[in-house]
Structures are given as structure tokens and as C-alpha cells.
């Protein structure tokens, strides 16, 4: 059985949008420091969806993507998921390693670079959310998955035994010179964590 519509009012959505803007700004700064290059960011769009709809956001359950998954431990446990379409992941890896991918294969160095970028971006998002909520939010060590979008959600729900109904999606686009990298940031709070976050931000 799928989740029903999420109960969130306009004020709550406005506050979360503002937090998302600051999160993405901090994430762009972090990425810029990692790369030692100027990174610009388009204003992110946020929306809430039932967890089972996550694959649709990234192009469908069969879409090949690269995901960095981190469990969130602490006051509002859940899962943090960063998903890049494969082409965008290749561009990101190329920017990070300074080398173009060979035959479209993700080398060990490519995967490590994407994982590190994912960790740093997640830390930027979680630190911002932490400062607004006063919650301690600690990311686990990251896992990188190169697979179909549907399999990644299976991994989260089955392998991590996560119990969640909704995902907060922050669609971000980072631009380095003429190269654009589109990524989807998902915050998947465990049952109860989402309500705790809303309460903590005073909405």
C-alpha cells in the first residue's frame, strides 16, 4: 500500500524551500572548495513524494543512475540519497579527476571521486539542516551504487531495512564553466523523523 498525500501547509513548504536554498548554496561552496573552481548553482526546486515515486523523479525505474547513499544517524534518522544521471556522473567525475571517462566506464578513481563529492555535498546539506533544527545529524560512511533507479530504492528499503513513507526532493543543478551537472538530493526521513523536523523548525 502506498503512502497518502503528505500533510504540509504553505508556510511549512516556504520554510523548507528557504532551508533548501541555503543547503544548496552551502553545497555549491563545498563543491567549489573541493574542486578549487568556481561553481554556480541554480536555485533548487523542492517537492515531496511518496518513497516509491523516487525512481520516477530521476527518469524511471529502469534509468541507469549513479547514487551515493548515506544513512543518517542521530536525532532524526533516515537516509540521504544523492542521485546523478549516468551522463552527469561522468561529467562530475571528469571535473574531479581531470580525466575523461574511457568507454563510459566508471573507474575506481571515478567512483571514489563521486563518492567523496556525494559525502561532501551531503555533509553540507545535513549541516545546514542541523543548524535550523538543532538536531545532531550524523552521516554514515557512504555507499556508491551504479544501477537502475528502481534497484537503489530496493537497496534502501530492503538492505538498510529503512522504514519511511515520504522523500523530500531537492533538485539542484551545479554549473562549472560550461559544464552542467544535474543531481537530485533526497532526504528520506524514517517514520517520525519528518514530523520531528517540521516541529523543530517551528512550522
Amino acid at each position: 500500500m502506498g503512502a497518502g498525500p503528505i500533510n504540509i501547509n504553505d508556510v511549512q513548504k516556504d520554510i523548507l524551500q528557504e532551508i533548501a536554498n541555503i543547503c544548496a548554496g552551502n553545497a555549491a561552496t563545498s563543491l567549489s572548495q573541493l574542486l578549487n573552481k568556481k561553481i554556480e548553482m541554480n536555485l533548487p526546486r523542492i517537492h515531496f513524494i511518496p518513497v516509491e515515486k523516487v525512481p520516477e523523479v530521476v527518469g524511471g525505474a529502469d534509468k541507469l543512475v549513479v547514487a551515493v547513499v548515506l544513512q543518517i544517524l542521530g536525532d532524526a534518522p533516515g537516509v540521504n540519497l544523492l542521485v546523478f544521471p549516468q551522463e552527469d556522473a561522468r561529467i562530475l567525475a571528469g571535473i574531479l579527476t581531470g580525466k575523461a571517462s574511457i568507454n563510459g566506464v566508471f573507474t575506481e578513481m571515478d567512483q571514489s571521486a563521486i563518492k567523496e563529492a556525494g559525502t561532501i555535498l551531503s555533509a553540507a546539506y545535513l549541516t545546514t539542516l542541523s543548524s535550523f533544527t538543532n538536531f545532531g545529524l550524523v552521516p554514515s560512511t557512504p555507499t556508491i551504487i551504479i544501477d537502475m533507479a528502481g534497484a537503489i530504492i530496493d537497496y534502501i528499503l530492503i538492505e538498510l531495512s529503512a522504514v519511511m513513507e515520504y522523500a523530500l526532493v531537492i533538485d539542484s543543478e551545479f554549473v562549472e564553466a560550461q559544464k552542467k551537472v544535474k543531481g537530485h538530493f533526497f532526504l528520506l526521513p524514517n517514520a517520525g523523523s519528518f514530523e520531528a523536523i517540521l516541529k523543530a523548525i517551528g512550522a
Binding site: 571514489s112 567523496e116 559525502t119 560512511t141
Partner: protein, 124 residues
């Protein structure tokens, strides 16, 4: 030749990045380790002047980043360890400093921050 450094990080990308920063500054990267257990083994083998240690690594042989700091300090109380953390890991940084690490840098970092911290730790 500059000071000998052991670079410890589970991410090959980060090991290369830190290694490149240090090499450009004249340091000699004498070894790399991808987990805490390997770090302790290589510290014993190479006796480096400085260790850069990722604070969050998968637990191998029941040793994580903090565990590696403790074991290295037990072997050599004069070991000079620079922790590499990410944002939001203040509690772990405090634990590492209490265990004997001398300083820390937070990812993402500018190369100059790593060089400054390495110099501070070596002079400590």
C-alpha cells in the same frame, strides 16, 4: 627530502588529492592505507613523521579511524597525527584529539589549509 607522510583514507580519490598536495610542497608520501588496521600496520613498518587520518572509515579488524589513532599513540606517544574530517563531525574530532591527534582539517579544503595544518602538527 621533506618529512615522511602516511596518508590514510578509505577513498582512493582523497588519498591521491592529499598526497598530491603534500608532494607539491616537498613532503615524501611513503605509504597509503585505506583503513585503520592497515594504518596501524604501515605506521609500525614505515615510522612516518606525519599521518593524515580520515576520521570516518569502515571498521576493519575492529579498528576505525579513532581506533587507529589510539593504537598508534599506544605504540608511539610522539606520533603526529592530523585528522581529516567532514562538516558535522565535531564530536568525532574532539574524540580524536583526546586520543592523541594533534590537529584537524575539514573537508572540503583548500590545499593551503592542509599545508598549514601539516606544518603546525610537525612543529608541535
Amino acid at each position: 627530502m621533506g618529512a615522511k607522510v602516511l596518508v590514510v583514507d578509505d577513498a582512493v580519490f582523497m588519498r591521491k588529492m592529499i598526497g598530491d598536495i603534500l608532494k607539491k610542497e616537498g613532503y615524501e608520501v611513503i605509504g597509503e592505507a585505506e583503513n585503520g588496521k592497515e594504518a596501524v600496520d604501515k605506521y609500525t613498518e614505515f615510522k612516518p613523521d606525519l599521518v593524515t587520518m580520515d576520521i570516518v572509515m569502515p571498521r576493519v579488524g575492529d579498528i576505525d579511524g579513532i581506533g587507529a589513532v589510539k593504537q598508534i599513540m599506544e605504540k608511539d606517544s610522539r606520533a603526529k597525527i592530523l585528522m581529516v574530517s567532514a562538516m558535522g563531525q565535531h564530536a568525532l574530532v574532539v574524540e580524536a584529539i583526546q586520543a592523541g591527534a594533534k590537529d584537524f582539517v575539514t573537508k572540503p579544503f583548500q590545499p593551503s589549509r592542509v599545508i598549514e595544518a601539516a606544518k603546525r602538527v610537525l612543529e608541535s
